[in-house]
């Protein structure tokens, strides 16, 4: 692999040819702010927040689309760059609603984060045009508030490059430019499969998870990385937990199989956990009706009846189904129970294929 050596903010770094300046800086621990860039999507160089100074270049190039070359000398934090970034942020918030106090995304919003970092409090533009789009919430999973959209296009690329579904694109021009399904309809009227990958990459509060609305601020959640309980792909994601309850699922980019990609089941199907139909107590059938009993009583009944049946009919009168939905540890214990305790090999599960 060909390597190139460049200098960023006075530090030397060696990277494979084809690495962008933004990625090379990351290797030195220098985080260049970015809004339209996502490492899992093609780079488009649209927002220009990632501009840097490169010796020998006249303008400020966007580092997410500029390849590192040998001998390149880069600066990421000159007053000129900082000024440019401030101006970009001021333009972005000029027509952005500043209701951050009650925004679902605050804490995970990149726009707010960078405004904080660069001390951008309000837009210097007087009476800027504001959008008054109606918030779209006519589907069970995704809320679209295009008033908060900064037209970075990440959602469009996620839909096209991750899900390969091409549901959403830009439409109209200039100030009226808008992201949405073909013909400016709603997701509910489109062929959207509700994978939510667009939500996972959106840097602002424009796209949010409906299930999480009003349940908590982003910083209040404990994130617990786990493996999806639905299909054999084995995607990982974070369960968002607050006050002992799950409020939602968000992508965990460090997932080796799936990265940020998930499907409707993994991202939005978790709510069965808190279904009010969950069983909470052991039940014993008395005269054809189930009555709740204590765990102790349930265990006693089981031990007594299984013991009697084994005694009377022998070990092979017992059989057990284990579960392709349960963990390895649970399956291991079931087969151990059947073999070592009940004394038979009559154990199987429903999905051998």
């Amino acid at each position: 692999m060909e390597l190139v050596k460049l200098t960023i903010d006075g530090q030397e770094v060696q990277v494979p040819a084809g690495t962008t300046v933004l990625e090379a800086a990351e290797q030195l621990g220098i985080h260049i702010p970015r809004l339209c860039h996502d490492p899992d999507l093609t780079a488009v160089g649209a927002c220009r927040l990632c501009v840097v100074e490169i010796e020998g270049m006249r303008n400020l190039p966007a580092s997410c689309v500029t390849m590192a070359t040998d001998g390149m000398v880069v600066r990421t934090d000159t007053p000129q760059i900082i000024e440019a970034r401030k101006t970009i942020l001021e333009l972005l918030i000029a027509n952005h609603p500043l209701d951050c106090l009650s925004c679902e995304k605050l804490g995970d919003c990149k726009l707010a984060e960078y405004c904080y970092q660069y001390g951008v409090k309000k837009s210097p533009f007087i009476n800027p045009e504001k959008h008054s789009y109606e918030v779209e919430d006519n589907n069970p999973f995704i809320i679209r508030d295009l008033n908060k959209c900064i037209l970075c296009g990440r959602c469009i690329r996620a839909c096209a490059e991750m899900t390969c579904n091409d549901i959403i694109d830009f439409s109209y021009r200039g100030f009226k430019t808008k992201v949405g399904p073909f013909g400016d309809t709603t997701l509910a009227e489109s062929d959207c499969v509700y994978c939510g990958n667009c939500v996972a990459v959106c840097p602002t509060g424009a796209l949010t998870e409906k299930q999480m609305q009003g349940k908590g601020r982003r910083w209040e959640y404990k994130r617990v990385k786990t493996t999806c309980p639905f299909c054999g792909t084995g995607c990982n994601f974070d369960l968002m937990v607050k006050d002992g309850k799950i409020a939602g699922v968000t992508s965990n980019p460090e997932s080796v199989v799936n990265g940020k990609q998930l499907c409707i089941k993994g991202r939005f199907g978790w709510d069965f956990v808190h279904s009010d139909k969950r069983l909470t107590s052991p039940l014993v059938k008395v005269d054809g009706k189930f009555v709740p009993v204590s765990w102790d009583e349930a265990f006693n009944t089981i031990a007594k009846r299984l013991g009697e049946i084994k005694e009377k009919y022998g070990a092979n009168a017992f059989a057990s189904l284990s579960s392709a939905r349960c963990t390895n540890e649970e399956n291991y214990l079931v087969q151990k129970f059947v073999r070592a305790v009940m004394g038979t090999n009559n154990v199987d599960h429903c999905a051998r294929t």
Partner: protein, 535 residues
């Protein structure tokens, strides 16, 4: 997975999921991947968009079939004539990998003889795929370097399921398409932990790690580890369990997290078996159809309430982490442990990790794994030692069984085909929004797709006088259900397609009692039905 285990010595997916992105050809047979394994489906589409060729064999025009370079719209249950004809062409045109066959396989002559009579023209009559497509696909597959085959239940849920799988293995070995990056044979396992449940020995013939219960040395190892004497004879598979429940030989069952009344073919047989039991314990999240038959129902903890591991379809063992307290007050492993202790065999585990460690110490393919090692990215088995990096693709230098085994396999027609009285062929499958039994309890998912729609071809619909949304009665020799219809040319004339996710339309009261003689897997995919409009 008996088929692949016979041919290669291991029944698991040979490659890794992310190797799909590097494939030049994806050959999908009997898998509606975008619905059953959505994220794998995305990766297939991503590969296609990067230039990989796509071949899809499916009676139904699935999303990937619509995008395929070749969509072979096969008659349900005729995979073997198609695969044999593809191999016939490859042999006739001298496109097979002689060196690979010579060095890595055995019994090639048997295959050669069997496929001799399957000319594309002859196979075409049986499977309905035009002969020229068979030629084209055979050449494309044989000549492409990095080619992966993918299949799921569409291949295994037939009376000839094991044979179908061995046919696929034949094809891959014939062209040396195995044991390399992005190149192999890949069964996509359905539910989240099918692979793990098999690996853990939730099977009547093997202990964890596919160690045979009939092998005295293995048995001795487990007897020593568990401190008891263990039964030597192979146990019963599910259909046999229910046969013997019906005949009164099985008296008691413990069922953890499965709902066979809804998901097994031939539901009526299951129900009568459960009714005859003297004692049934069901350990479940919900009061399912199966739990209704129980004498004792134990409330289960969900994946979010427990520590543990799942093993995904690419053999990757990954962590499940407890996010909230168990809603019923105890985890499932604690419950099983207590049952065991009360039965006079005390189990003492303080954590799921301790169970994992005991299992790994007894399971060679997991032996090198620990929670610490799998914490971040998991590990793919085989992983025999603590410094082993795990195995990305199988059979690189040799097959698990040594030499790959070719087998001549002839066509066996489905056990039940349409006739005058039952003129439609019913096929079943999964839809994206659901996975078997848990998703109907998700309020969001259920709100957008909450009842069964049987897919009917427009030709048949006009003959039956039905339009989308009408109700029909679907009847087979075993039972009847009512369902709404959706008129669509996704299915060919003469075929009805239904899923089996809904209690209100329990499709599996219709499906056939026939089973694959080796795996006892039910023939969910094909049976004969009649359809009548309801007013």
């Amino acid at each position: 997975m008996a088929g692949l285990a016979t041919s290669f010595g291991s029944g698991a997916m040979t490659n890794s999921i992310n190797e799909i992105l590097g494939a030049e050809l994806l050959f999908l047979i009997g898998t509606n991947t975008t619905e059953a394994h959505p994220v794998i489906g995305y990766k297939m589409k991503q590969a296609k968009r990067k230039g990989a060729k796509l071949i899809v064999v499916d009676p139904r025009r699935t999303e990937l079939a619509a995008e395929a370079d070749y969509w072979l719209q096969i008659k349900p249950g005729t995979d073997i004539p198609l695969l044999n004809a593809i191999m016939h062409v490859i042999i006739k045109e001298d496109l097979y990998d002689k060196k690979f066959i010579e060095e890595r396989t055995e019994n090639f002559e048997a295959l050669k003889q069997t496929v001799e009579k399957y000319t594309p023209e002859y196979a075409s009559e049986l499977c309905g795929v035009p002969a020229e497509d068979i030629y084209a696909v055979a050449r494309l597959y044989a000549k492409t370097d990095k080619a992966g085959i993918f299949y799921t239940l569409g291949i295994t849920e037939h009376v000839c399921g094991t044979n179908n799988v061995m046919s696929i293995a034949n094809l891959a070995m014939l062209t040396g398409h195995i044991g390399r990056e992005s190149t192999g044979v890949n069964p996509l396992r359905g539910q989240n932990n099918v692979q793990g449940a098999c690996d853990m020995g939730a099977l009547p013939n093997v202990y964890p790690g596919y160690q045979k219960v009939t092998d005295p040395a293995v048995r001795e190892k487990f007897e020593k580890a568990w401190g008891v004497s263990l039964p030597a004879e192979v146990g019963l598979m599910i259909p046999e369990m229910f046969d013997r429940a019906n005949s009164g030989e099985i008296k008691a069952m413990y069922i953890l997290g499965e709902n066979p009344v809804l998901t097994d073919p031939n539901a009526n047989h299951i129900k009568s078996g459960l009714e005859k039991l003297e004692f049934l314990v069901v350990h479940e999240l919900f009061l399912t159809e199966t739990a209704q038959y129980a004498d004792v129902v134990l409330p289960a903890a969900s994946f979010a309430e427990t520590d543990g591991t799942f093993t995904n379809t690419e053999r990757r063992v990954q962590r499940v982490r407890k996010a909230i307290e168990p809603i019923p007050g105890r985890t499932n492993w604690q419950t099983i442990m207590e049952m065991s202790t009360r039965m006079g065999y005390p189990m003492h585990y303080n954590s799921a990790e301790e169970i994992f460690n005991e299992m790994a110490s007894l399971t060679p393919s997991y032996q090198g794994m620990s929670y610490a090692r799998i914490d971040k990215n998991g590990l793919q088995w085989p992983c025999p030692t603590p410094d082993h990096p795990g195995t990305k693709y199988l059979h690189a230098a040799a097959f698990t069984r040594g030499k790959g085994l070719f087998q001549g396999i002839d066509h066996i027609p489905p056990a039940e085909l349409p006739d005058e009285e039952y003129p439609f062929l019913l096929s079943t499958g999964r839809i994206l929004f659901h996975y078997n039994v848990t998703t109907p309890y998700s309020a969001g998912i259920n709100s957008i797709w909450n009842e069964e729609y049987a897919e009917v071809n427009p030709d048949d619909a006009s003959r039956l006088g039905v339009t989308t949304g009408d109700k029909v009665k679907v009847t087979s020799r075993r039972g009847e259900v009512t369902t709404k219809v959706q008129v669509t040319d996704r299915v060919p004339p003469g075929v009805i397609w239904m899923s089996f996710h809904y209690t209100e339309s329990p499709t599996n009261v219709l499906t056939s009692a026939a089973v694959d003689p080796i795996t006892k897997t039910g023939e969910y995919k094909v049976c004969a039905v009649k359809v009548e409009k309801l007013n």
